[in-house]
Symmetry: C2
Subunit: 182 residues, 2 copies
Amino acid sequence: MGRAKIEIKKIENPSARQVCFSKRRGGLIKKASELSILCGSEVGVIVFSQAGKAFSFGHPSIDYVIDKTLSGESSDSDSGSAVTDVASQKVQQVQALQQQQKQVTQLLASERELQRRLLSYPFWWQKPVTNYRPQELHYLLQRLDGLYEMLLSRAAALQHGTTVNTSVEMMQNRLTNTESGE
Amino acid sequence: MGRAKIEIKKIENPSARQVCFSKRRGGLIKKASELSILCGSEVGVIVFSQAGKAFSFGHPSIDYVIDKTLSGESSDSDSGSAVTDVASQKVQQVQALQQQQKQVTQLLASERELQRRLLSYPFWWQKPVTNYRPQELHYLLQRLDGLYEMLLSRAAALQHGTTVNTSVEMMQNRLTNTESGE
DNA sequence: GATCCTATTTATAATCA
DNA sequence: TTGATTATAAATAGGAT
């Protein structure tokens, strides 16, 4: 798309590379914006310059897109469903594991949200607590408490030997029995 | 860029919108890929279809870009450092909290990595465990075990009343004393 | 839903300001 | 460096499969 056709490979000349970066970054974000508007879809773009500066675009927001990605929506719930006999026996185990994953992921999302909130105030910790509105502090503390409560209950469940451990153990047994084959 | 010029506004016709989404999604990701190659820069793109399915591109990986974004590079480590007296007393507390945050965040990152790994095999859980190479299973199990061990020790530390709780309590006290303001 | 086909619109490489 | 200019390469709207 220029006077001359170019190969898609790293531009060696640093200054030419910088110019290209700047132009294409703008183009990429414009495209992302158009896609989100035309199709009403959720889109996130993040670009880091060589200097480490971040540029981003997000609809409805970059945070929203990141969180949704981390919560792992993906996988269509059906398609090649010709499950073998052995496989079907494993489904429940794995689903239990997936459930675990999801729970921990949610915990993480919660934590991340708090962290973001904290980071959104540069040097917030250098200010006396009294500078914050009580509601703001309440919010932060509640998030923190909730997080640790979740960690506690999660750990307690594990100590009492739940399906999690069972699943893991079963998989480990299976693994041992199969160890010999490649 | 087509037979006719179009306005950048939401496409009302659902099927036309779907077609546009599919085409532009591909274009956007191609552009992102080119940018990362041409300029050797770190780029991440995530798009959700209306059906909730996620499409992404990342260099060196989408996880890398997301993690880098969440770690929030920005803020220079010093600037307005005229800390008040009360504030300086709070610094240690808050720093302890930040440490906590960091630990939990690392835990999350670990979890996320495992989850991604699992999701990278479509319907992996529908296959008999024996279809996987022992090393692969070992890897997954180790990740899982590590995660829960971290959760356990974290919870144990909390139950024994550590600086975490202390910090929280101190902040809560401070909060109570300030409740009347604002 | 993806893919193939153009006619057009856009993005942008090279150049100059 | 940061912006225009402009000739060309690319992306893509509309339509058909």
